[in-house]
Symmetry: C2
Subunit: 148 residues, 2 copies
Amino acid sequence: MNEENKKTAPTVFEIEEGNQLLPRFDLYEYLPCITLDAETGEVLMLGYMNREALEKTIQSGLATYYSRSRKKIWVKGEESGFFQHVQDIFIDDDQDTLLLKVRVDGGASCHVGYRSCFYRRLKKGSSKELEFTETHKVFDPKVVYKHG
Amino acid sequence: MNEENKKTAPTVFEIEEGNQLLPRFDLYEYLPCITLDAETGEVLMLGYMNREALEKTIQSGLATYYSRSRKKIWVKGEESGFFQHVQDIFIDDDQDTLLLKVRVDGGASCHVGYRSCFYRRLKKGSSKELEFTETHKVFDPKVVYKHG
């Protein structure tokens, strides 16, 4: 029996109070990842990482996600040029969610052209109507994404 | 044919650029929800909401999640007393992720006792070792969660 086979599942204490990264990927083998602008603290987006994307993120220092729709590893910015340079990688209590603090080239993260993907909020008193909290786009997606 | 049957799927433009809340729940019928402290902007946790939890959150003003492990609707704070009072509800570009800004009773959100669930980060230069960024617990879980 080799070392690998002797491993036992980590305890709740090891996961929640320990100092080892023990990411708990979901049934589809990915983890959600909240990404913040390191300078402003603003939430930019929620992405997903599988083990390979997380390893590439740690190794390269560039935020690398797994695209669930395109079913492939994806270096954020590889098309737009707006790379995310990782400053810090946090993990939550039960190690099933990541949080990245990044410096963003170009100052925008959202493919629609806004700084953050969270550019709309529910209007006070309404259960349906949204209002825009970003008033103009940072870039024109038609120009940045040539295929668009 | 009634009005309900005449509905067509919303377009990408309506989802991304529109002013109507059109939440796109996943295969399991829930959405991830990033929750921030409205005062400090700090990310407190990632939870999940199904349609009922989202409706209850909007109606009551208290953050209400769906617990995937306990398979039930869960008003955050119902056991600890640390309720989350919703100030704003944001939704992202493709309307599959929520972001709440909340005022937190008791000043802590994490069941382990920390202010935020993201109290550990990867040490610089390491791919495995975590360091704690919160130095002490805000509450003792054994006292707050009587069953603990």
